[in-house]
């Protein structure tokens, strides 16, 4: 393996892990509510910007991070309670536009309250690159990868072993049946939005030391996360993680070996190709339409 290839691979998996977390956020909300949340990228941005803000207040790093995640989670709850719940039964396009409206509001709010400038969060454990096989990787990239793995494992446990997790799965499979079984569907929805917001925030905080952050930082991340979720098959959590990794690595290789200007296009070209041949994503189930 050449050093160059390894370098692109390191870039790719770091990006990929971030996309995976954002994609997971899409999947969780989609599973519970069949809504595609176009404000997912704004949760990511809010995590990063929130941390910058709390650090600015003089809070120590771990506290600032938790505070930012808590704040973003509140926004997730709020989005469900005040925007999605009242619009129950609206068409897919209407719901998409509501979440787009929410994303504009969140960007607008952050811009007004915390400003428009770019900010950097200090890396968690320094900026001294680590040499591996002639290529370099930042300690922060290891943080991104490590925390992503932990979060994915924790989520698996949550969905497979806890009552709440199982209730979310049940609701996603059949909402009416879940309701009949005595599952509090409203609570399930509420929790899913909060959980997904927290995940997004975590992703935003992890990458902010590498990519910098400002109020518009979530737009592209949100779109790429959507790509990851669709590529893996909507609603398939592990699919979203795989999708994120594929998109991240393809993008880095595209930038390295093809034309760097087209790296953002790689994710979308990939998704179109996959959808043309497998209309429900790589790992998605083919749905049947009810007449």
């Amino acid at each position: 393996m050449s050093a160059e290839f390894l370098q692109f691979l390191f870039s790719g998996v770091t990006l990929g892990a971030t996309y995976a977390l954002v994609g997971l956020g899409f999947s969780i909300i989609y599973n519970a509510s069949h809504v595609i949340n176009f404000a997912q990228g704004e949760f990511v941005m809010m995590g990063g910007m929130g941390t910058v803000f709390f650090l600015g207040l003089g809070l120590p790093m771990p506290v600032a991070i938790l505070a930012a995640i808590a704040l973003t989670t509140l926004f997730g709850f709020g989005l469900e309670r005040f925007a999605i719940a009242p619009a129950r039964g609206a068409s897919v396009v209407t719901l998409i536009i509501i979440t787009i409206g929410a994303s504009i509001v969140m960007r607008g709010l952050v811009q007004v309250v915390w400003g428009k400038e770019f900010h950097a969060i200090p890396s968690f454990s320094g900026d001294e690159p680590i040499m591996i096989g002639g290529a370099t990787i930042l300690p922060q990239s290891l943080w991104v990868l490590g925390v992503t793995v932990l979060l994915v494992l924790a989520l698996r446990y949550f969905f497979e072993k806890t009552i709440m997790g199982k209730a979310i799965i049940a609701t996603s499979l059949n909402r009416d049946a879940a309701l009949l079984m005595g599952i509090n569907v409203r609570l399930v929805l509420f929790i899913s939005f909060g959980l997904s917001a927290a995940l997004g925030a975590a992703a935003g905080i992890l990458v902010a030391p590498i990519t910098l952050t400002n109020f518009e930082a979530g737009i592209m991340l949100g779109l790429k996360g959507f790509c990851a979720a669709i590529l893996g098959g909507l609603g398939n959590g592990m699919g979203a993680v795989a999708g994120g990794m594929i998109v991240g690595i393809a993008e880095a290789m595209g930038a390295g070996y093809w034309i760097s200007e087209y790296k953002d296009a790689v994710a979308f070209i990939l998704i179109l190709l996959v959808l043309f041949f497998k209309p429900s994503g790589l790992f998605g189930k083919t749905g049947t339409e009810r007449v």
Partner: protein
């Protein structure tokens, strides 16, 4: 079916809304005959680095001037539109400034792209326009109604190449932003390189919103014989380039342009900024200037005003806006009216104006009026600017 029958009522509602909206639009333009200065800046988006301090500076000094009684006994009104980095929005904004707001002079345009897009409109409308953007194409060839205050990209290339020669370096790589300024500076450097016996061995570029440039830099790293890297661009991109550069363990000298001349750059790039060189105006090193330097008093005063009003540190971009505003105001004062032709003529006659960018001497053939002497080569050491002697 019935929804068709209501087409009439619906359209009536729409008419009401349209008329209502226009009414809101027109009532804004009434006031007691102030002098109107229009501006369109990149207050949001990837170039907010530029637009934000520019707007703050304009607001700060216009308030100051108004408190001091205004100009020609008239108050000054600032009319501003945020155009992000979209030239099309800049066009809409400038059309609005000249035809609806009927401004007397325009001081604005954070990016070269936005400035070049509106040049045909201000030329046609015959409104004096002082741009705050970098590209040399704005003033070369000279356009009667268009002026600018920042040093050009061509001058930045010249200054960097002089420094390379002094260090005995001849082979470089360029990495440039794809937006107006990066593209233009890349072109200027390429044109100028042979005159300084400099060979550009590799050229890469990145988009205005990119967050990872390791791929481009890895490619540059793989090119043999590169002795230095020049990054043409503004905004957060160069900060990421600088971080990635250190991450990849690249140790040859890295040059930035005056497009990043603010403390924000050092803050964003962190330790990676150590040793980076860039040409910039004296404003950044106000306290390090010789006492005999005519600019010292001006830049110290501006630094004091700006930091007192907004906290934080100054950038040269705010300085460009300061210069633009002062040049416009004194031209109006000398002209004794806001007659656009007279104001334009007076702007062109600006001479000996000591600003944050240098001493400005404009003429019919030079709508910038700055020379290389006003440009300092700076190096970042211990998180601060130092002057390279």
């Amino acid at each position: 079916m019935t929804s068709r029958q209501n087409g009439f009522k619906n359209t009536l509602c729409a008419l009401g809304m349209v008329a209502g909206a226009f009414a809101v639009g027109t009532t804004q333009a009434e006031a007691a005959d102030p002098i109107k200065i229009g501006t369109f800046l990149s207050v949001t988006g990837p170039a907010s680095f530029l637009g934000d301090p520019e707007l703050k500076t304009l607001e700060l000094y216009i308030e100051q001037i108004n408190e001091g009684g205004g100009v020609l006994g008239r108050q000054i009104e600032l009319i501003q539109y945020d155009v992000g980095v979209d030239s099309k929005k800049a066009i809409t904004a400038v059309k609005r400034l000249v035809s609806q707001d009927e401004v007397d002079v325009i001081v604005g345009g954070s990016t070269s792209g936005a400035t070049m897009a509106v040049v045909p409109i201000v030329q046609k409308a015959k409104v004096p326009f002082i741009s705050l953007a970098g590209a040399v194409a704005i003033v070369e060839p000279v356009k009667p109604w268009v002026f600018k205050t920042p040093h050009t990209d061509k001058m930045a290339c010249g200054k960097i190449f002089e420094d390379l020669q002094a260090r005995g370096l001849t082979t470089i790589a360029m990495i440039s932003g794809t937006g107006g300024f990066g593209k233009s500076m890349n072109g200027q450097c390429t044109k100028l390189a042979p005159a300084y016996n400099i060979n550009i061995a590799a050229a890469e570029s990145y988009g205005p919103k990119d967050t990872d440039m390791t791929a481009q830099l890895t490619k540059i790293k793989g090119v043999d014989g590169v002795q230095a890297v020049v990054n043409a661009g503004f905004g957060q991109g160069p900060a990421i380039v600088t971080k990635n550069y250190r991450q990849l363990g690249m140790t040859m000298p890295l040059y930035q342009s005056h497009g990043v001349a603010s403390r924000k750059f050092i803050e964003l790039a962190g330790d990676a900024a150590e040793g980076v060189r860039l040409p910039a105006a004296a404003l950044l090193v106000a306290d390090m200037l010789e006492d005999s330097d005519p600019q010292k008093a001006v830049v110290q005063a501006y630094t004091k005003d700006y930091s007192e009003a907004y906290g934080g540190s100054v950038s040269t971009f705010g300085g460009h806006a300061y210069d633009g505003l002062q040049i416009a105001i004194s031209a109006i004062a000398r002209a004794g009216s806001t007659d656009k032709q007279a104001v334009r003529d007076e702007i062109e006659k600006t001479s000996g104006y000591v600003g944050t960018g240098g001493v400005v001497n404009m003429s019919a053939t030079d709508h910038l009026g700055l020379d290389l002497s006003a440009f300092k080569m700076l190096e970042i050491k211990n998180g601060d600017w130092t002057i390279v002697k």
